[in-house]
Symmetry: C2
């Protein structure tokens, strides 16, 4: 028995499968430990043959390209591999052009699946390339950071940064499936893992007090990367994300807006610190505490909600205070120019208690005045 | 009464309205003479306010920007106008970047409609920009060539040319509505008008013998730009295009494939002549006759079908012979690298008689061997 086939057998029992219900565009999110070898057989089961492409980063490619290629080859999908350098600064049109060139030169056609193996940058850029080449190629998201596994890889959002702002260009392009292998989190820098936890905690705050308590109770085990705990929180997170995406695929009806909890202020902080000082999850942690404080000031929640949230984030090792030197006025201006503001109003996600939120239309100035 | 309001009154009786039935993405195609002033009120009726953007070319902008702007301002939609030079050579990433920059600098948000006023280049590039900025902005197609009115503007296809091929990058992005004003065809160069007729004739061949006969009978009137005839053939064409798009929005189920009649060979000819010698419609005219001859060779139709098609195209002033010097082998190779070929097979649209076609899976070599 080949190594890949063996791997399939040992892990077939512990793959969690969540369906993102989007009618004809529905797809599963698979979560498990050591499940990378499932990519090839799953693509084959969907009828893909002959060839495929893998887009990855240099660091992730060095670690996981080979087992992924083996799985694809065994499924008779000869992979073309395109690697780009690591880092958000490469999520731009210049690297998109490189990806376009390489894939077109490789002779892709409309049945050539693109596997995006990496973190958010690879998922966004690979997703955008797949969504726009030949007006849409099949896509598989194989997220390798906790942040991408619990958020970016599910829901079809893709994006490219523009000199005037992040993700100003993008499309919605739903994948054929998402495969989240928690085993790859072992090679993720600890700071990035912890930043990803902020998004998991966010799902607890906005949707499920039990998830919040679960993280609170098992925080040490999570930080020690216990497989069962990782699978449980990634699965719970993907389930929430899948439900929101199914209800509001293109952020048109407000259901998806709730995911912006902590992000309105968090994005502003990221913009003002030039995306250099803080990881996205760290900015979200700060943004969530700030949003909770604004919620308290608006009378939406009490102090104990703010304190529970702040306490858990701090125990996880996340920052919770707005960096010194960032003035409310500057934050207001940054919030206002965010692409999610429509006609100057922001749909602010306020927390009522752990597990429950409310949307309130506010101006950027009104939010900033409570910081 | 303002000029725009007056125009609305005089023309409200003769606007044909065809619905492209795509569930939540359904939209109307409006066809009439002197109907440009409807853009503003229609956008207002859809709830758009404050501002919008107009993308156009220098030539078309000089002719029609002002009445369009007046209509938009009267509807309280302050337009930002972006003009790019005329010509297919500008349908590239460099000009796309200019459009992105201008629109982002103008402070667009997700409720800012983009009006694409122009021919196929503007419709494709403007549609792609609208489809990708902020992950999708509302789009209005105002096609100003016969070709764009009867084909490109309906169906949501957008595209950008890549150095290695035309429209290799694109998205499907359905507009809010399409407005085809046949009056603007008076300023269209005659050669372009005639080339557009090739696509109208195509609808007759693939769907409706009566339309073919109508064109045949009234060819002189059409060439003299009689308004009622123009409205009738544009409306009939859009009705057919709308039905195909509704049945097969993303070219996944074959129904849309039938529109490729004459295009498989036509595209190859365009590629081999570097898109310089022939207009698209002229290449399609040649491709249709070639496809009819291949159909005859395969036993799908008789000589009278080939002759009727060839006769009408020639009377319209269209070319019907493959340019000297283009060898079948070269055409085969060009067909094979077309993005519509999947795994080396081409879904060839064969004609059975005027008004009826059949799809046959062939290799490029098999098609070329009959040329």
């Amino acid at each position: 028995m080949s190594r890949a086939a063996e791997a399939r057998v040992t892990m077939s029992e512990r793959v969690e499968e969540i369906v993102v219900d989007l009618g004809p565009r529905s797809y599963p999110v698979l979560v498990g430990a050591n499940v990378l070898a499932l990519v090839g057989p799953r693509l084959a089961a969907l009828g893909f043959r002959n060839r495929c492409a893998v887009l990855t980063s240099e660091r992730i490619g060095a670690l996981y390209r080979e087992p992924l290629q083996a799985s694809l080859r065994e499924a008779e999908l000869e992979p073309v591999v395109v690697e780009i350098p690591d880092g958000e600064e490469h999520k731009n049109f210049a690297w998109l052009a490189v990806i376009y060139d390489r894939l077109i030169e490789a002779g892709i056609d409309r049945r050539t699946p693109i596997v995006a193996l990496g973190g958010g940058v690879i998922g966004d850029l690979g997703g955008f390339a797949a969504g726009t080449l030949l007006r849409g190629l099949p896509l598989v998201q194989v997220p390798t950071t906790l942040l991408a596994q619990v958020d970016a890889a599910v829901g079809g959002k893709t994006g490219v940064n523009h000199a005037l702002g992040k993700n100003l260009v993008g499309v919605f392009h739903q994948p054929q499936f998402v495969l989240a292998d928690v085993e790859v989190l072992r090679t993720l820098p600890r700071r990035e893992f912890v930043a990803g936890l902020a998004e998991v905690i966010k799902y607890g705050v906005i949707f499920e007090a039990a998830l919040f308590r679960h993280i609170d109770r098992h925080l040490d085990g999570l930080l020690a990367l216990r497989r069962d705990l990782l699978v449980s929180v990634v699965t719970a997170s993907c389930r929430h994300k899948a439900a929101v995406v199914a209800a509001d695929e293109r952020e048109e009806h407000g259901q998806r807006t709730v995911l912006n909890f902590g992000h309105t202020i968090g994005h502003a902080i990221e913009t003002l610190t030039d995306y250099k000082q803080l990881l996205h999850g760290e900015a979200v942690a700060i943004g969530m505490v700030a949003a909770a404080r604004v919620s308290r000031a608006l009378g939406c929640c009490g102090s104990e909600t703010v304190e529970r949230l702040e306490g858990l984030l701090q125990r996880a090792g996340l920052p919770t205070e707005i960096p010194r030197g960032l003035k409310p006025g500057a934050i207001a201006l940054a919030m206002q120019t965010d692409k999610k503001s429509a006609a100057g109003r922001i749909r602010f996600v306020a927390v009522e208690e752990i597990g429950r939120t409310r949307l309130i239309d506010l101006s950027a100035a009104e939010i900033a005045s409570q910081l």
